[in-house]
Amino acid sequence: MSTSNVATTSGAASTPVFAAQQTIAAPPRRRRVKRKTWQTVIWLVVLIALTALVLYPLVWLGISTLKPNSEFGQNPGLIPQQPTFDNYLKVFDGIAGVPLWQFFGNSLILAVLAVVGTVLSSALAAYAFARIQFKGLGILFAAMIGTLLLPFHVVIIPQYILFNNLGLVDTFWPLVLPKFLATEAFFVFLLVQFMRQMPRDMDEAARIDGAGHVRIFWAIILPLVKPALITCAIFAFIWSWNDFLGPLLYLTSPENYPLPIALRLYNDQSSTSDFGATVTASFLALVPVLLFFLVFQRFLVDGVATQGLKG
């Protein structure tokens, strides 16, 4: 609401002494309310239009799974002319001789291991950084922050050589082991932030009563930072579920593929034939993430808001 407008609507006859106060306090009531309502309506309309635009690709994806192959390229509109479930039937057969559920299973195993490894190792490291005073703390903490900004691509070649020499290519080890070693600094950082906020009196008292760090960590700090642990777990799951580069580098046989790599197979052949199956498999791969999002959206969005954690 701009000042000049308010000034013109207020009575010009008011005494000069109170003019300043009156311009703010007493514009005609009804007009102000009406204007407020109109502003809110415009606000809503703009936001709904924006939401429709932003979510259109997802809606398009969901509805396109019902289009028969012949309609792709012919019917760019949203609604299928002849809706069918054929795509789903086809897609469950899988690709490259591997059924779809196996790709799902692989993705699930990787994601669950990623969650367990990330939460455990990051919580341990965060406790040391946040609650223990030790020699070298400063420099190691700075190093950890430094790795926050480090592009992953810088280490893919040497890491690949390492895992290749260990004979671990085409196993889940190269994808899972880093998760158990807290290599994703974001999670460590997020937990450090949370653990630092916890009052110190409690663990000081516990120490005086003879509890060691292990007990303080397990019985006091971990329960206190549970919300942060949940945020970490959800992000670790989704990042692992969506990860493409890791499995692309390390997994070579189709029966080990998680969904993103399986989708690549669909994508590669889609230019020639089966676009419906590609779209449907893509949609199914997104469903768990979208469900996670719907259930935990408060955790996710608030986690992002308070900690600056990016999707």
């Binding site: 924006l50 792709f72 341990l124 040391a128 070298g136 480090l150 810088v154 290749n164």
Partner: protein
């Protein structure tokens, strides 16, 4: 000698109830009082005791850090050093690396038009996409900040794309939507703008990639919104009293108060944009095409290292990427003094 601000522990502090499960150990009042007193006045401890305590703490610290240290040195620092070494060699994983000095770097900058193009399109993608994303995120955040009621729904709806934007599924959707005869092409054609498919068009595929990165503005927007909520309302009221218009209020209040958040989002946004991989790979079917216009540095690195088996050359590309990211971070941190305003800081 350091003077402790509170030499005698206050009785209130001693009587503070301790109710956590871990502390249900019976301790005599005397022992506890003495322990607390010691805690408050470390200078009272005899030197050896203090030193052994410090040693114990250090031991505990490194104990908790074992997994992280293994990861940090084993999977990050030593590999980085090794890849620096590899970048001065010719190496194909099957025969031992052969030292060739600076040849890889010289070849990259003087004799590899593919790399030059790759660097150019990456820089365009990063420095066009990130600022637009930030501006869009800030505008939408301000729009949402206008009203609390109902804003939560839109906040979540706009956030969803940033959770999935880098996934293969979304890249496949983008390929379909921006492909020829796709929804974007046909809606534009209906408006009389006949561009054809974006994905197969060398001059439109990069804009399609940038639109994909802008589409993921939600996470940035949520951080901006949290920042906006913390701007004291009095500042706006004061500015309004002074007769500041909307634009002036934005310049004089919103921007400076948000500058730490802008700095954070800019830093992470730029660094994140350099790492785009899956979407470019899927949209171009792993080729980096059409005409090399999605051949981002990460894609080129992957192709050289893992398709052509030129590990040394790829390591050199990785190090150039690292150096560029480090330079950008350095510039941002150096210039933040002149434009980032931290609350309670009167520099």
């Amino acid at each position: 000698m350091l003077r402790h601000p509170d030499p005698a522990p206050s009785p209130r502090h001693l009587e503070q109830p301790v109710s956590t499960t871990a502390t249900r150990v019976i301790v005599t009042g005397e022992k506890r009082r003495r322990a607390l007193a010691n805690k408050r006045r470390p200078e009272n401890l005899s030197r050896p005791t203090q030193r052994s305590r410090a040693r114990k703490e250090t031991l505990a610290g490194y104990g908790f850090l074992v997994p992280w240290l293994l990861g940090f040195f084993g999977l990050t620092i030593i590999p980085m050093g090794y890849s620096l070494y590899l970048s001065f060699t010719r190496y194909n994983i099957f025969t031992p690396p052969r030292w060739i000095g600076l040849d890889n770097y010289i070849r990259l900058f003087t004799n590899d038009p593919q790399f030059i193009q790759s660097a150019q399109i990456t820089l365009i993608y990063v420095f066009v996409g990130t600022p637009i994303t930030l501006i869009a995120a800030l505008l939408v955040a301000m729009l949402l900040n206008y009203r609390d009621k109902g804003a939560g729904f839109f906040r979540s709806a706009f956030y969803a794309p940033s959770l999935i934007g880098g996934s293969v599924s979304v890249a496949i959707v983008w390929r379909a939507m921006f492909g020829s005869e796709g929804p974007v092409d046909s809606s534009l054609a209906a408006l009389g703008i006949d561009l054809g498919g974006w994905i197969g068009n060398p001059s439109l595929v990069l804009p399609a990639m940038i639109i994909l990165s802008i589409w993921q503005f939600g996470a940035t927007m949520v951080i901006f919104l949290a920042g906006l909520k913390q701007v004291p309302k009095e500042l706006y009221e004061a500015a309004e009293m002074d007769g500041a218009g909307a634009w002036h209020r934005f310049r004089a209040v919103t921007l400076p108060m948000l500058s730490p958040v802008i700095f954070f989002n800019l830093l992470l946004g730029l660094i994140g944009a350099f790492q785009v991989f899956a979407s470019a790979y899927i949209i171009s079917n792993g080729s980096g095409g059409p005409a090399g216009m999605t051949n981002f540095v990460t894609i080129y690195l992957y192709k050289r290292g893992f398709t052509d088996g030129q590990m040394g050359y790829a390591a050199a590309i990785a190090w150039i990427l690292l150096i560029v990211v480090a330079i950008i971070a350095f510039i941002l941190f150096r210039t933040q003094r002149s434009w980032v305003h931290y609350a309670g800081d009167n520099r």
